[in-house]
Amino acid sequence: MEERTPLASTPWLDPDARPFVRIEGLSKHFGDFKAVDAIDLDIYRAELFSILGASGSGKTTLLRMLAGLEAPTSGRIEIDGVDVTDAPPYERPLNIMFQSYALFPHMTVEQNVAYGLKKDRTPGPEIQRRVAEILDLVQLSSHARAKPSQISGGQSQRVALARALIKQPKVLLLDEPLAALDKKLREHTQFELVNIQDQLGVTFVVVTHDQEEAMTLSTRIAVMNEGRFTQIGTPNEIYEHPCNRFTADFVGKINLFEATVIGGGDAEVTLRCEALDCTITLPHAAPLAAGAAVSLAVRPEKIFLAKEPPRETDRTVLRGVVLDLGYFGGLSLYRIETGNGTVIEVSAQNRQRDARGPEWDDEVYLSWDASNTILLGE
């Protein structure tokens, strides 16, 4: 699934690339509450951009401001070079797919999909042709005459998608597009959504609280908390190179440890971590003052678990006892308590059918490569 979009590979790294959607200093205040707080964001043509955040993070308010359903307190929104900050929803070159799908219950599938074209006074034969085309794309031609109450949740989702895409919007906004579907259907629909986006080359902006959804769908993700972005980057950057504690903690599982800077050179820093009872030297570009408090983070799957001490000596090695373990089929999740009471989460793949891993109260050795340790400033 790597090479899926006709996107100019990584336009966000190209200083000359012109962003397709440009958000500048956008804020929305409800009284004293800052739902969205001075956000800047550039989204490029044909991107599948996700805004990931917990409920109440302001992500839906941001989406509603893009759609024109909420007036910003301050800031600008530009789409394809046109300022749409004050344009009403019916004049914006974008469409939205609602979380509830919002299918008109008194119209058939066909009428729902045709609604946008009718409002544009598209001639009848063209409406018919395009409706047939798009229903074919979402594989719903046989349900054209059905009412929304007669079709399933997955089908409703596809009708909503077809209705939002038929006007060939420059940007499609999707509010929790898969939240109302059950797990099996969600995985299937996820890939379907990416395929359709790929075929049509439309810029997608997805708002979601589901990190798995954001990870698999997106070209880039913006992690949002309390009305601000904590980090914007590719799924890989967000996961492997989080730049602050919130992002690291919010996306995936992670072990976080407090540490203090005790020295360093131009390109590296030496830290003392009491929780791990060790001194670590990590490469770091910007010099850090001695005594500064930082965090160390390690993903559970980066830690190697063994009953014997590892032979390599350049790894961080800890000894501990299995406190708890959970079996998930494909992998097992362990919670290991080290000598000084620190609890570390480790996940191990179950590669052999009958291999017996460590059990409760077994003594085990944890080790990981220093390059897998993430240094977080905040």
Partner: protein, 279 residues
């Protein structure tokens, strides 16, 4: 299955008798040949003939129907706007006060409403020379005032039960606010509009107290006429009139019930949705 006890059955019979025997007597006596309403003088359609020849009654019926139709229509329009404002407008200063003031007529004693409207009309007449003689138009205005509140409540509850993203979706697809209202809102609240209209119509047709306050000489609604006639003793004509009304109402209810049952049956025939609902 256990048989119902005699006690339960007799209580039920008593209850229904209490409700329906008086009505049955009215119907029965409408076919009374005698002009004394308490003495049975053999079967006759005489009073129906008298009824349809009685200009006074016919005029009252027509006036009542005209007022009811007019006030129900205006009240539905105004009540819908008020309901929209209560359900859809973002919070504004004085919203609670606005809501309370719209809903007050629901709980206001009719005597007070009638009296205050009478005073209003009298002082308006003194100041502007309008509304001139009180009559059908002042009654209609009075009825609009209180039935608007009922329509507003019905429309509001329907709107609050409706997903606001339906209207937003229509707007997003290129419909201007008025089109959204006509294409999406009106069809979806149509049942509430119909209910509101019928309720306003019935309230107006039924009202005696307020109409008595604000009507003038020469404009007598049906309830006012019946009330004044009954004070001089129940005439068999009124029995005939009551029977006609009962037949009309019963037919209306029967038709409504049948339509509802048919619609439910149609819904039941449909296949149930396969997957999860839309939430």
């Amino acid at each position: 299955m256990k048989r119902h006890g005699t006690f339960v059955l007799s209580m039920m019979a008593f209850g229904f008798a209490f409700l329906y025997v008086p009505i049955a007597l009215v119907v029965l006596y409408s076919f009374n040949g005698s002009s004394l309403s308490t003495v049975w003088g053999g079967f006759s359609l005489r009073w129906y003939g008298e009824l349809f020849r009685n200009e006074e009654i016919l005029r009252a019926v027509l006036l009542s129907l005209r007022i009811a139709a007019l006030s129900a229509s205006v009240a539905t329009a105004l009540g819908t706007l008020a309901g929209m404002a209560m359900a859809r407008l973002p919070r504004f200063r004085g919203r609670t006060l606005f809501t309370a003031m719209i809903l007050t007529p629901l709980v206001m004693p009719e005597v007070l409403t009638g009296l205050s409207l009478l005073l209003l009309f009298v002082s308006l007449h003194d100041l502007f020379g309008w509304p001139g003689a009180r009559g059908g138009s002042t009654i209609a205005i009075a009825h609009i005032t209180f039935s608007t509140a009922y329509v507003a409540v019905i429309v509001r509850s329907r709107l609050t039960g409706m997903d606001p993203s339906l209207e937003e979706a229509a707007m997003d697809l290129g419909a201007r606010p008025l089109r959204v209202f006509l294409d999406i809102t009106v069809p979806l609240i149509a049942p509430a509009l119909l209910t509101g209209w019928l309720l306003a119509f019935t309230l107006s047709l039924d009202d005696l107290v307020i109409a008595s306050f604000v009507s003038g000489p020469g404009s007598t609604t049906l309830p006012m006429l019946i009330f004044s006639k009954v004070r001089l003793g129940v005439t068999p004509e009124i029995n005939a009139l009551a029977t006609v009304i009962i037949v009309i109402v019963a037919t209306g209810i029967a038709i409504a019930a049948r339509t509802m049952r048919r619609r439910e049956a149609r819904h039941a025939e449909r296949p149930a949705p396969l997957g999860t609902g839309t939430g």
